[in-house]
């Protein structure tokens, strides 16, 4: 499954204003709920915050992958955010998070969400990709960076 098929320009917040974990999660969920009015923003926020309480999904190097289960969806719901200033996300390496992948999985989904998670981390392992994501102009550019990175991954 390709990450580019899960994202579109509408769910990308290219200049986040939040500076702390809770506000960042609210900002990202707000954007998702605009795109998906059938989903309740408050519920999405509390699912992600509850998962964060078990340990931060800030995996270091400026990346955070807030994720959780949402029984009311039947396929993956994803969002993306970029913060130029950085967000204090209690990350493992104590550095601020700049790149956010939000991932909601349906309750019973077998391993598709783990595949998506693995794929996202794979793409972001490349330092050049992270840099390009930070320098991208807007949502369109960001999508293109992800798309290109994914293609390179498939070729190699």
């Amino acid at each position: 499954m390709a990450i580019r098929d899960l994202l579109n320009e509408d769910v990308i917040v290219s200049d986040m204003t939040a500076r702390d974990k809770k506000s960042a999660i609210i900002e990202l969920c707000h954007r998702l709920s605009e795109r998906r009015p059938d989903l309740d923003q408050g519920r999405m926020v509390s699912v992600l915050l509850n998962r964060e309480r078990l340990g931060s999904t800030g995996i270091g190097q400026g990346i955070a992958i807030p994720h959780g289960k949402l029984p009311e969806i039947d396929s993956l719901v994803t969002g993306f955010g970029r913060s130029r200033e950085g967000v204090d996300f209690a990350s493992m390496d104590d550095s601020p998070a700049h790149i956010f992948f939000v991932l909601f999985a349906p309750a019973g989904a077998a391993r598709t969400h783990l595949d998506a998670l693995a794929r996202i981390s794979q793409i972001l392992q490349d330092e050049k990709v992270r840099q390009m994501l930070m320098e991208a102009e807007g949502p369109g550019d960001i999508l293109k960076v992800i798309d290109d990175a994914e293609k390179r991954l498939e070729v190699s």
């Binding site: 974990k21 809770k22 998962r51 994720h67 981390s121």
Partner: protein, 454 residues
Amino acid sequence: MHAIVVGGGQLGRSIADRLVREGNDVTVIDVDSEKLQEIAEHQDVRTILGRGSSPTVQAAAGIGSAELLLAVTGSDEVNVMACVMAGAASPATLKVARVRDVDYQSYVQMLERVGVRIDLFINPERVVAERIKRVLAVPGASDVSVFADGRVLLVAYRVPVGHPAAGRTLADMGREKGLPRTLVVAVQRAGRLIVPRPTERLQIGDVAYLVVPADELKDLTAFLGLSVGPARRVFIHGGGTVGLVLARDLEREGMQVKIIEPDARRCARLSEELSRSVVLQGEGADWELLEEENVAGADAYISLTADQELNIFSSLLAKRLGARSVYALVDKPGYVALATAIGVDVPVSQRLSAVASILHFVRRGRILAAADFFEEEAEAIEIQAMETSRIVNRPLREVRLPRGALVGAIVRGGEVVVPRGDSVIRAGDRVILFAIREAVQQVERAVSVSLEYF
């Protein structure tokens, strides 16, 4: 995480202190500028002067970014109102209200009707009464905590003068025939807590913390020579909220309760509220009264007045007159250790118990149960071992836990394993870990879920 504490009293300060030490940003709101100044001098928190229930004040405290709001002033109304306002301004913030009113369930129902959710109501009086009841049930214990739905107990025993355990090493005692399955996870000695090695010798006055499977507690009590039954005859000194709540519970369990209270009107109220308990009007530190009422035959004497020095004094007096085990309510920092040192068998602290419950709630999900010991120097936590955690599928002797941490018990299905070096933790097991404070966070990290946990 950013947390807001409304109310800079003893409870507010204690909880703020703990949250700061665990690496959180804390803002304390209070209406008393002198109190705030003192807090700012001693603690690394931000302080804001004003009413905690005011939306303007909450906004200034950063309610938008706060993951947690704790309303712990002395007033139920202020606390509930602060949570209601916070709920309107920031629904995703977890909200905790301290409520004295025992009938707090009615708040929950009313508030839910208007769409407000307060995540936890904390009633320190109820919390401390529960703790006293747990200790009363275990003869000779000075503290008792429960894990794994009651299957595992952590029990503290003091080593009295002349006890055969004094002077012997743990390894030596471990070889003794007929020793029940148990593990000494900590020893409190002269105001300090140590994680003992097998070569450690127990000394008179030590308090040893033992992990024991609940259904083998009887064997342990017998082995320790404490072949007395659980408490039946109980004196309560002080008929305040805790005293009343406790007396009501104990008489329901069929115990004989005598309650001593100096205030005549309060005595009348107690007589109305209680059915079988004997209400005595008088002073707890009255030698003749205690003697006349046969405190010598009491299994426990529990002093719960608002006067902490009196609680210590009156419980020591009762002990002198022959009460088997004496309890004193002490809340001032340092008093718990002091009271223990001079002979109070069971010091109970409303403040520390409430702090422990609140922290447990804050960390729920990560941990299943927790117990604080000895002025918060150490903690026992219960977790469920995840497949992806570093502690599973290898013998314990190869599991690298931080210094000052050890595994106290492993619960798999209905079975309790008291661990040895070759024991192995499997995914899904419930594990009770003991850690001194410096190691608690590292322990949590060592057992934490990995990224792919949904």
